[in-house]
Amino acid sequence: MFDSSQEGLFAGIDKVALLLYVLLVAVGFVCITAASYDDTIESMFSSSHFYMKQLMWIGISWLAALVLLLIDEKYFHMWAYPLYLLGIASLVAVLLFGREVNGAKAWFEFGGVRIQPVEFVKIATSLTLARVMSAYSFSISRPSDVAKVAAVILLPLSIIILQNDTGSGVVLCSLLFVLYREGLSRALCMPIVLVVFLFIFSFILEPLPLFLILLAALTLYSAARSGAWAAHVRFLSFTLLVSLLLAVATPLSGYAALMIVCGVEAVALAAAAIQNKAYELLWLTVMFVGAMIFVPTTDYIFDHVLKPHQQDRVLSFVGMKSDPLGIDYNVNQSQIAIGSGGVAGKGFLQGTQIKYNFVPEKHTDFIFCTLGEEWGFVGTMAVLGLFIALIMRLMKMGERIKEPFGRIYCYCVASILLFHVLVNVGMTIGLMPVMGIPLPLMSYGGSSLVAFTILIIIAIRLDASTKHEGSML
């Protein structure tokens, strides 16, 4: 279909994905301009504005994109391991010699320019994961191979967590998405998802709502797997009703009542499951009981065993930065900013919450606030639309690439993007804890922009070569 000689550099590349990328960067630039515009600085084009610096980073990113499009795709496969080793080395180096910003020791500084190696490690880890999993002898059902995959992900993850940059570390957990696509057994996926879920939400939800969500999610999952919807709905309403009655009739709290009812049910379910050899149900029950024990235990330890300074340390460990006004302050202010945007927003440079510095990190991690306040619901939906389109497009590209290497890589990119968007946007609207990870392509910051550009352009490049070969046939 495509004539390669006419298209030159852009031969076979997915123009939709590229357009989505460019649009997101452009919207990001507009928001950074609004967030950092300071009317006390005389010149609009003074290089002391963040948006002028961001313009420079956009230039550098696009230069990098051009170079990547020129490189033969086989090199990505070849360089995967060396890049991975380099990435690990730089993580260790930054841990030893790096600079501490906001409590995370995750930055190198060269003459005023800060570089965050974590951002680039995401690329290297994705390439390596793709190479490991695309090896001919690889099988996801073989335990030794699963261990290999786990090692590839957990090695950088643990170093990043040592840097006290937990948010960036947890990003790598999103690669589970890829493993699922490649056939990792559900029995392994579920508990990992559960652990990550509990880890994230135990910091923003009270135990009771957390349980209700968990109970509903697991029941729905079980219903979807078995198809017996009516039975599950009956089970769920029975549980809630009995708990409610128990809570009203006795001095027990709602939470305690629910725990007791669920506990009894769990024992019954487990017994029935063993009898009927329904191992999936058994597995779900075991996980639920595990969560039931896990949540109050950690809560108890946190509230009663840990001293206040240790609590602070745990909070800062999970990336909830210490703030003199308390953790809720940031989230509250950011929700006020977004919420006050209304349907159509206040207009470019008109956001009062942003301007008056109520929102912290308004040009980096909280850039979404600027969007929400100045462009309203229309703006936020448009950007979410761009992101979902880009993620879906990447998955589609992955599916159509013939070799597993390309497919796995595309999925890696999609999952990293998805996680970033979920956590970043989620924290600005109070759905997620403040984990301090940037909004891809939009947050101010050279490392993040360049790294996400490279991440996406490599996917586009891998996809282009497959199609290109396809058209030759």
């Binding site: 056939g183 979902i388 999609a414 968007v421």
Partner: protein
């Protein structure tokens, strides 16, 4: 190969996961942006202002409960430039209320306009009355912040107490607690007990309307923190004694330190010349500070803990003690004195007194020659093989008395003094020296340097017969059961208690029988004392006196040092004696001695020369 049914099913599942994630985000956005109007109200009507709540700084009392430092209410006036109404306001009226010149006010407002949204300090130290008048006028864009200023009811102890100044760039970098414009203690008690005195700042988050008028507290004060006031300190100082010491030292340069031997509590610490501590408070602080810094006699230099003075003859006490502990001296040993001691071509001179003398009389008459013999015997003790090793042993002893190192008191920047080591002599004499070289150390001259605090501590050691408590200036901190544990521990010297008796006896004789310290006698109080007359390159000899009383169960140990004051008995002795008298008897029965001290003029050609030099520049 993996293109089976399973793969496409998983692909579909993942697409649903993505859709669910986005649906979740979109749903929440829909709620907060479209449905819940609360946020809109908050954003339009609530502009939040964080007002720092300053605690009141802890006050300092003397040991009898009298105020040394009080905190007085005063206010900072702040402005947020953009909130000033466009039509302006009555600047003349404001300037007169705030007691600043209209020009100053205008220049401050111009400066504030450079950062339109940041709170800017217009002026500080606004009195309570002025603040009330200011509040009545309701100037838009301006607000007042409660602070406290220091006030010194007795105007004593400038160097001892230190002062409160604005934090420096360095402090800001070192201590994240502070922000620009905060106050911090500088020097003396203020800086040593900064953390206790300052308390903790609080913050009040207020909501204001778009015109800057306060509407109330933000979220019912959920983010407010109350300031915690600073702790009150009880100092070990006796204000009456301190004031008396400062009065007696007027016109003299030097220091007085008195310690309670049984606790190490500092009763008096006067550094002279001193200054009125109230001068370093308020808007004129900068000017006064500059003037004090220009003064060649350095009133801001706390001589009591930082100066390095030769101890002179008072050091002979240490010499005798080491000699006895080392076994080279018995109290009955006599040495002849022919108005001096000759070694090589050097002669250490002595005044005329009867000869030969034993240890007690040598202390009483302050015989130089006697202690030259003692020192010679210590460092050339055959048991150590060499003079070098002998001097090292001597050095260890001297250090155990608190010389040549800091005492680890609660003063920040306490001086070490200087006790020369063998390395120092190797350097100075190219390793070619013998027992005669450091001979001037035997009478506390030469390279010896001590702080007045170290000398007073020596008096306390002798009073206690062999140990001391680390001297300290604060005895009680509000809300704490005790002060630092180190102040409760006995610090033993390397000389046993039994060797102190002959020395004490000598000091007692010098005052009460015959010797250099006769004028220090107080009937019935068994004063012990030792004069010192220290040669120095800056003019007349320094006058120093070291004393404690009573002889048994001593209650006060004191050291007085007057630069260029002449003989120890000339001026240091009467000052010390009067302070002892006031402390031990609560009265002064020798008004003629007070008059003598006050009328006694000490000349300072060295400082005069410095001043002349400075003026020429």
């Amino acid at each position: 190969m993996r293109y089976g049914n399973e793969s496409s099913m998983r692909y579909a599942t993942l697409r649903w996961v993505v859709i669910c994630v986005f649906a979740l985000l979109a749903g929440r956005l829909c709620y907060i942006q479209l449905i819940d109007t609360r946020y809109k109200e908050m954003a339009t009507s609530n502009i939040i202002r964080r007002v720092v709540q300053y605690p009141s700084r802890g006050e300092v009392l003397d040991r009898r409960g009298e105020y040394l430092v009080q905190s007085r209410e005063c206010y900072d006036v702040m402005v947020v430039s953009k909130d000033i109404p466009r039509e302006g306001f009555d600047t003349l009226r404001m300037a007169s209320i705030l007691e600043i010149s209209p020009e100053r006010l205008r220049s401050q407002l111009e400066k504030a306009a450079r950062y339109p949204r940041a709170p800017f300090l217009v002026t500080n130290y606004v009195s309570q009355q002025a603040k009330l008048a200011f509040d009545e006028c309701y100037f838009k864009g301006f607000y007042t912040v409660f602070r406290t200023a220091r006030q010194y009811p007795r105007k004593i102890g400038g160097n001892l107490l230190g002062y409160v100044g604005e934090v420096s760039e360095n402090d800001l970098k070192r201590w994240p607690y502070y922000s620009a414009g905060d106050y911090i203690g500088v020097g003396g008690v203020e800086s040593a007990y900064e953390v206790e005195l300052r308390g903790r700042k609080g913050v009040k988050v207020e909501t204001t309307d778009t015109h800057g008028a306060i509407k109330g507290s933000y979220m019912d004060g959920a983010f407010d923190t109350l300031p915690v006031n600073g702790r009150r300190l009880v100092s070990t100082i006796d204000a009456r004694l301190q004031a008396f010491a400062e009065e007696l030292m007027v016109g003299k340069v030097g220091a007085v330190v008195a310690i309670e031997p049984s606790t190490g509590e500092i009763l008096v610490m006067a550094s002279s010349p001193t200054y009125d501590p109230d001068e370093l408070v308020g808007r004129q602080r900068g000017n006064h500070y500059m003037a004090l810094q220009e003064n060649v006699q350095q009133p801001l230099f706390n001589r009591a803990v930082k100066a390095k003075y030769p101890p002179g003859s008072t050091f002979k006490l240490v010499q005798g003690l080491i000699g006895m502990q080392e076994g080279v001296l018995r109290p009955g040993d006599t040495h002849p004195c022919h108005e001096g001691f000759t070694v090589g071509n050097r002669k250490v001179k002595c005044h005329s007194h009867r000869s030969p003398v034993d240890l007690r009389d040598a202390v009483a008459t302050s015989c130089n020659a006697y202690f030259c013999y003692v020192f010679r015997d210590i460092i050339s003790n055959p048991k150590y093989g060499s003079v070098k090793r002998g001097l090292e042993v001597w050095h260890e002893y001297v250090e155990s008395f608190g010389f040549g190192r800091t005492l680890d008191s609660d003063f920040i920047g306490e001086g070490q003094g200087n006790v020369p080591s063998t390395e120092d002599y190797d350097r100075m004499y190219n390793s070619r020296w013998n027992w005669g070289t450091p001979i001037s150390l035997s009478i506390g001259q030469g390279e010896m340097g001590c702080t007045p605090l170290q000398m007073a501590n020596l008096a306390a050691i002798v009073a206690n017969r062999g140990y001391y408590y680390i001297p300290h200036i604060v005895k009680q901190i509000e809300g704490r059961d005790s002060i630092d544990a180190r102040f409760y521990e006995r610090q033993y010297t390397k000389v046993e208690s039994r060797y102190f008796e002959p020395i004490v006896e000598g000091m007692w004789r010098g005052v009460n029988v015959w010797g250099t310290s006769r004028n220090a006698a107080l009937p019935g109080l068994d004063v012990c004392g030792k004069t010192g007359t220290a040669q120095n390159p800056h003019g007349r000899d320094h006058s120093t006196f070291l004393s404690f009383a009573p002889k048994d169960n001593p209650r006060i140990a004191i050291s007085v040092y007057v630069e260029n004051g002449g003989f120890g008995a000339t001026i240091a002795l009467p000052i010390a004696s009067l302070i002892e008298e006031l402390y031990l008897t609560d009265t002064i029965c020798r008004p003629e001695m007070v008059r003598y001290v006050k009328d006694h003029v000490v000349y300072y050609p060295y400082y005069d020369k410095l001043r002349a030099k400075k003026e020429r520049k």
